[in-house]
Point group: C2
Chain length 93, copies 2
């Protein structure tokens, strides 16, 4: 049985991770809108570093049983999908 | 008042972060022992990335009130001090 505190903590952990994923998406949107080319190595590097940071947060939350492995994988997969959509849209325009 | 669950969670969070900091130190030790030059850009990049990952974990734990800002700062400061000692020792040998 989980206490209310534990449930609150889990919900907060998930919300923070989701917000961090959204922040990465936002950062990439700004880069694309400002016409920094997605082919630019710096763009790739920023994205890789940000994704690594988020994956470390998710891994940490998983080890603390704040989120399940499944939830963590879903957060990263969703972000990657959204980034791909953005990337493809920028290539077409 | 913190429940027992919350205290356990805080202790576990701190222990995980400490273990992750030790892992970075270990990684750098291995690099130095294997004579990869600390001047090598790859070495710097690996270290920067690892430090960034740990700082994201610490920031996340702080936002969840699992550790205090003070504890987080201390973890990073201690790691940096130990890395400096290692680095200086490798320069002298």
């Amino acid at each position: 049985m989980l206490s209310d505190v534990a449930v609150d903590q889990r919900e907060k952990a998930y919300a923070l991770l989701k917000a961090d994923a959204d922040k990465i998406l936002q950062l990439i949107k700004v880069q694309i809108d400002n016409l920094t080319m997605p082919q630019c190595p710096l763009y790739e590097e920023v994205l890789d570093t940000q994704m690594f940071g988020l994956s470390r947060e998710i891994n940490f939350a998983t080890r603390l049983n704040l989120i399940t492995e499944e939830e963590g994988k879903e957060l990263l997969d969703n972000l990657e999908k959204q980034l791909n959509v953005l990337h493809e849209a920028s290539q077409r325009s």
